[in-house]
Subunit: 404 residues, 2 copies
């Protein structure tokens, strides 16, 4: 099939996909020296050792396993009682109702929800508005589906100004026939949280052009003081034009269980369930049970988590800002930071290889998030504070040493 | 996007897909009466209460959770040490080597492996040889990928003869341009195990026509006495033409963890990993750990499991065979039985609805497995023996009562 596919057209869409620098894959790219590997700092994802899962999550998993018969299998869209729990809390959190029977599906991670959503909405040849920079999988999934991404720039470079999506470009994309916008809010990798005005305008444009919006709000619970979060689904967009992706993999550190959800447009949820029936049948029946502690964390737990992340953010941000030639925006929501380094004597690939080989430090390359971000690196700072601070100092020193 | 998609072509491929009668989905179709619901018998999948998971599986999960940092994230193709364990044992089990770096991927259930494999091998418009009857997802995934299934009949109706794939039809499919054959062995739903001769001939035909074969061997460890299992991958087919799907979800009752594997052609594994990066990133990092008890069950555990299933098989088979108008083949491998009922006064839909509503008995309709099997029902007999026997007696009585 391989050679047949190759001869029939240019290439299978998967052959053009390079995942070697994606988070979690770097280990095969540049091995760290033995002496640094053990205590390395991996900024490609959060450290669940430094920020452990919600207390009680494992107990729920264990109970589900012990009950076995009730939990091993579920409807493809998830256990009804789990959907009821999540629907109730997501309704309250987002300020807009979620019907547990029709408006929600439980998926293998929020990544699962993203793939199912885009596969349900995107036809081959369609145009899809994608924010730049944004989570790398958005444009990759669109390309895999043989559709055409249209980049819409998010201006985030000036730390003194609110991050701003280029709404003229979005209008242009819709006018050119894009019927779908995909974005993350807070933005991955920059940490921008869209203003209420921006969200309202996105909703209004979607209505005007009859477009659908998939908004990935994976980090929307991790908001730093001074930022207010606006839920698109409660901003006047029609219910059948909006899908919101959420999950406990990041702030709540439940990534290892692989559960996420999509809430919103029921006709899209229906398609997503059908595709899930083909892809993996269901999110792990036992893992689904841990969603019952989501939004029900012990009093003060989330506040403390936010405070601790804020302290790390402030520390790392100050270190980057104090480094000549580095520009960086303070993260408004989530645990990503996206500093731009000064022009270096080595390539961005060599720089990252040096970080890994000599210091056991892993970062995600900026060009994973769009074209033209090669000088930037993404750090997930959900890490042990001291280790992260030391690692950022090393990054800054190496950048300074290698500055042209 | 919905309306645009509808106007652009007939329908999104997902709109044609009906999953309402698929295993696990029946609950939304016909609710059982309250008094029978609690103690119902659900033949749509195995009962992990009656046949519990491999001892120690949960402990491995717990250890992975406690180690957290090491297990929450993995390479998209799975933790290396888990792949090493599985590769070693699958090499031994199948009699053909598996390179843990290149020839194996860990997926969310064996279903995940099937979807990734077919998506990596099938281009839109391609022809794909599919066995009839066979696991319903095979043809559904092919249709979703906008390719064209070509049915190749498996003759299983005569219980006295070996099940036989129509090799003339397979040759015809290959000659007509199909470059892929997908089959399950043991066959789902009939329980047929392909003879060594048949497997050799399939391998030879694939070589002759340059075709690829995906063989789903999910049930290949549950072999009843008198049957020998032949691994296609060790039957002379080139390594780059064969992919074998395996997993601990069935015989080993680890379905709730959602882990499976594909082993074989490394160029396909590479594509599968890329697609997994888009679909769900990885199988649950913690769940992958339970694969370390797979193929390492306590001494005698598997033999006992086989013996217990054999006793149920023999009992249910005798009950069906004693019922006038029912034809049924003794299952050679796995825990599926596919009896054909006599012509009834009610439709097959009504018959199943009666079973569910009045007796809490769930079976999977035969027409899920191909066209023309409407009089058959599939039972997964991995159940409590007594309950299963009583339920089959009820099925037989109801069929007798309703026979034309």
């Amino acid at each position: 099939m391989h050679s047949a596919a190759d001869s029939r057209e240019a290439a299978h869409p998967l052959d053009n996909l390079d995942i070697s620098s994606s988070p979690g894959q770097e280990k095969s790219l540049t091995p760290a020296r033995n002496e640094v590997a053990v205590d390395g700092t991996d900024f490609s994802h959060g450290d669940v050792g430094a920020f452990p899962p919600i207390p009680g999550a494992f107990d729920l998993y264990q109970q589900a396993f012990v009950e076995g018969r009730r939990y091993a299998y579920s409807h493809y869209r998830g256990h009804l009682h789990v959907r009821e729990h999540v629907a109730r809390h997501v309704s309250e959190f987002t300020g807009h109702p979620v019907d547990p029977s029709h408006d929600i599906i439980v998926t293998p991670g929020t990544q699962g929800a993203l793939f199912l959503a885009l596969s349900s909405l995107v036809e081959p040849g369609a145009k899809v508005a994608i924010v730049a920079p944004d989570y790398f999988a958005n444009s990759r999934i669109v390309a895999y589906l043989r559709a055409q991404p249209i980049a819409v720039t998010l201006h985030y470079e000036d730390p003194a100004r609110a991050g701003e999506l280029d709404l003229d470009a979005l209008t242009g994309a819709f006018a050119a026939g894009a019927q779908l916008l995909v974005l993350s809010n807070p933005n991955n990798p920059t940490g921008v949280v869209y203003s209420p005005t921006q969200i309202d305008e996105i909703a209004a444009l979607a209505e005007e052009y009859g477009a659908f919006v998939v908004v990935d709000q994976l980090y929307s619970r991790l908001m730093y003081p001074g930022t207010s979060f606006t839920h698109l689904r409660a901003s006047g967009i029609a219910d059948d034009r909006c899908l919101t992706l959420l999950g406990p993999s990041k702030t709540e550190s439940l990534s290892g269980f692989r559960v996420g959800v999509a809430v919103g447009a029921s006709h899209v949820i229906d398609r997503m369930e059908k595709l899930q029936a083909l892809i993996s049948l269901r999110a792990s029946g036992y893992s689904q049970a841990v969603l019952q502690c989501w939004f029900c964390e012990p009093p003060g737990w989330m506040d403390q988590r936010i405070n601790e992340h804020q302290a790390i953010r402030d520390d790392l941000h100050a270190r980057f800002r104090a480094t000549s030639g580095v520009t960086v925006r303070p993260t408004e929501g989530g645990s990503y930071m996206f500093p731009q380094l000064p022009p270096l004597r080595v390539s961005d690939v060599e720089f990252r290889a040096l970080l890994r080989r000599d210091h056991g430090i892993t970062v995600t390359p900026g060009n994973e998030f769009g074209i033209g971000y090669g000088r930037s690196i993404r750090l997930n700072f959900s890490q042990d504070h001291d280790k992260a601070a030391k690692a950022v100092s090393i990054i800054c020193e190496l950048a300074t040493e290698l500055t042209i």
